[in-house]
């Protein structure tokens, strides 16, 4: 701020000095005794110039010196906010007074500007930090988020959006949605949201994404939320578009719906039998005692079937809710497997399937819940029989797997086999292999219950090896307890 003040005052001093020099030159010319007007003119000019020079130098020097002092005082006073703390010389006081007010104003303005600049810098840093936070949050979202401006150009996009729509976030900013989004309907949605101009009003559209996303094998369903960003005039400055993949939610919803329908059917079937046989008995449609006894047995077995189904559903719910209580005891797996084989033999016989149990001379025991282990082997054998064509073979084998310190139970069949693309899903609740729904009925709960009982309750593992047309091998392990290991080692010794 000192430089403009000095420059201004230098000019002022120079004007004063010039005026003084001119006055001296005029007086000198008036006193010269030269008659010739030309000579008189030249001499006058010279005399004037000399007089000017003679007077100019001290005047300028004095003026400069005073001026510097004045400047220093003015500057000091201005900077300390006390303009009258060190009074200027009397002859310069009017000038100083005249100068003080604008200098004070300039100083105030400068102070305000400095303060404002500091505030702006702080705000800038805060805004930058906030922007980074928002970007971090945006990038950590699973939902794809894109922000476009009033010209439908991209201003922000997260990583999920880049992956979904197939662009690079580094080069995408300021590019038109026509270049970045291949799905024409999505582009139109963004345009409509922007042109509708209703700020902060969220619209939701369910849409199956096509275009670059359709390069993948299956088109996926999205819940698309579009929000118009308000501008100061109340218009729409841009659009935030959030794409949530709801494909899986829809699948689960469909699976649940299928399950309710299937479970209802599965429960009604045995109930129908019970109802019909009871009515036949009431109506006296049976000719003899043997037929009546047969009906009683059928009613009993169908009632048991309903009971088993309800148990399956409740067991899964309990295990999922973490309230399943297991009653642990030393379980002889061979005894359990043989009991299952015996129970399922009539069902296997109906399809001419050879059902057998294989194990070595050792006693295969582990601490487990016998009823739950029974249910696991029963579900696996029941499935194997269901999906094995007539004349096939189902084998249950029990062995020790010392590598994993577990009992290993395998149920192998010569059935249809599981297609590789759905192998990872067969243990999911409600899941059924689409093409096999026609082959046999089921609720899609059996294998899920197997997984829950083995892995959640017994901390074991389930697995599957299968080849379409060659059969399947389902297996599970139940870990030895410390006591089991000790007794086994003791027996070996």
């Amino acid at each position: 701020m000192a430089t403009p003040r000095l420059t201004f005052l230098s000019g002022f001093a120079a004007a004063l000095a010039g005026a003084a020099g001119a006055a001296v030159g005029w007086n000198a010319w008036q006193m010269l005794p030269i008659a010739d007007p030309v000579l008189r003119g030249g001499a006058a000019t010279l005399a004037g110039s000399l007089a000017l020079l003679a007077l100019w130098t001290p005047v300028v020097l004095v003026a400069q010196s005073q001026f510097r002092r004045l400047c220093q005082r003015v500057n000091t006073c201005a900077s300390e906010g006390r303009p009258d703390a060190a009074p200027a010389p009397i002859w310069l006081r009017p000038v100083a007074r005249a100068m003080n007010r604008p200098i004070e104003l300039w100083a105030e303005r400068a102070t305000k500007l400095q303060s404002s600049m500091r505030e702006t810098q702080i705000q800038l840093r805060v805004a930058e930090a906030e922007r980074q936070h928002i970007e971090t949050i945006l990038h950590s979202l699973r939902d794809a988020v894109i922000v476009t401006n009033a010209f439908d150009e991209l201003t922000m996009a997260n990583a999920a959006a880049a992956r979904l729509l197939g662009f690079d976030t580094a080069n995408a900013t300021d590019r038109s949605i026509d270049d970045l989004i291949s799905d024409p309907e999505l582009r139109q949605m963004i345009r409509d949201a922007r042109s509708s101009g209703v700020a902060n009003k969220q619209r939701h559209v369910e849409h199956e994404l096509t275009g670059s996303a359709a390069d993948r094998k299956d088109a996926r369903s999205f819940d698309i939320a579009l929000v118009c960003l308000p501008d100061p005039s109340g218009g729409c400055a841009g659009v935030v578009t959030i794409l949530r993949d709801i494909t899986r939610d829809k699948e689960i919803s469909q699976m649940k719906s299928d399950f309710v329908s299937q479970a209802s059917h599965e429960l009604r079937t045995p109930l129908s039998s019970i109802n019909a046989y009871v009515e036949m008995l009431i109506d006296g449609e049976t000719q003899d005692e043997a037929t009546r006894q047969e009906f009683y047995q059928i009613i009993k077995s169908e009632a048991d079937r309903v009971s088993r189904m309800v148990d399956n559903m409740l067991n899964i719910s309990r295990i999922e809710a973490g309230i399943q209580t297991a009653e642990y005891s030393d379980v002889d797996f061979v005894e359990v497997a043989e009991h299952v084989v015996e129970t399922m033999a009539p069902q296997a016989k109906l399809k001419d399937i050879t059902l057998s149990c294989r194990y070595g001379p050792l006693v295969y025991t582990a601490e487990a819940d016998r009823d739950l282990v029974h249910q696991v082997i029963m579900n696996l054998v029941s499935n194997a029989i269901k999906y094995t064509p007539e004349g096939g073979r189902v084998t249950v084998s029990i062995e020790n797997d010392d590598a994993s310190r577990s009992i290993l139970v395998t149920v192998a069949d010569t059935g249809l086999g599981i297609p590789p693309e759905v192998k990872s899903r067969v243990f999911e609740k409600f899941f059924r292999v689409e093409n096999y729904k026609r082959v046999a009925k089921g609720t899609g709960l059996g294998l899920n219950l197997v997984k829950h009982i083995v892995e959640t309750v017994h901390k074991g593992q389930v697995g599957l090896e299968s080849e379409v047309g060659m059969g399947s091998k389902f297996f599970f392990t139940i870990p030895y307890t410390q006591d089991d290991m000790a007794s086994r080692l003791g027996a070996a010794a």
């Binding site: 079937t269 109802n275 019909a276 036949m280």
Partner: protein, 136 residues
């Protein structure tokens, strides 16, 4: 009624259902043939030419609805009425009923008495509708 008893085809993949329905109808004097899935039923229907088909809806290989469509498409069986026994009565749409010969839908759990009553009614309607078929 004709002198020869009407022949009824009963189809269900649940052996107990087939058993109980067949017994009820046989006790009432009808001739009953049975099948345990849709494909077997279609083959049997072509060979046996039943007067009425009583079928489950949800069955392996060929559903009850598909079976009824096939019956309608088969010249000799196009007039044969069908009764659907199903736990999913709601899933049979009006247009499905219109393009097949399904004349009755009974929900499981069903009453064998009701099955018998509906059988009698449907066979009587069939005689009224196709007297020549009955005579044949």
């Amino acid at each position: 009624m004709t002198q020869t008893p009407a022949k009824i085809l009963v189809v269900d993949d649940e052996a107990h259902i087939v058993h109980v329905v067949a017994l009820k109808l046989r006790n009432a004097g009808y001739t009953v043939v049975t099948a345990s899935d849709g494909e077997e039923a279609l083959e049997l229907a072509i060979n046996e030419l039943p007067d009425l088909v009583i079928t489950d809806l949800q069955m392996p290989y060929l559903s009850g609805l598909q079976l009824c469509e096939k019956l309608r498409e088969t010249k000799e069986l196009a007039h044969v009425p069908a009764m659907m026994l199903t736990a999913r009565g709601y899933s049979i749409a009006e247009e499905d009923l219109a393009r097949t010969n399904i004349r009755a839908v009974l929900s499981k759990p069903f009453s064998p008495r009701e099955v018998l009553e509906r059988t009698k009614t449907m066979l009587a309607e069939l005689i009224d509708e196709f007297p020549e078929a009955d005579a044949a």
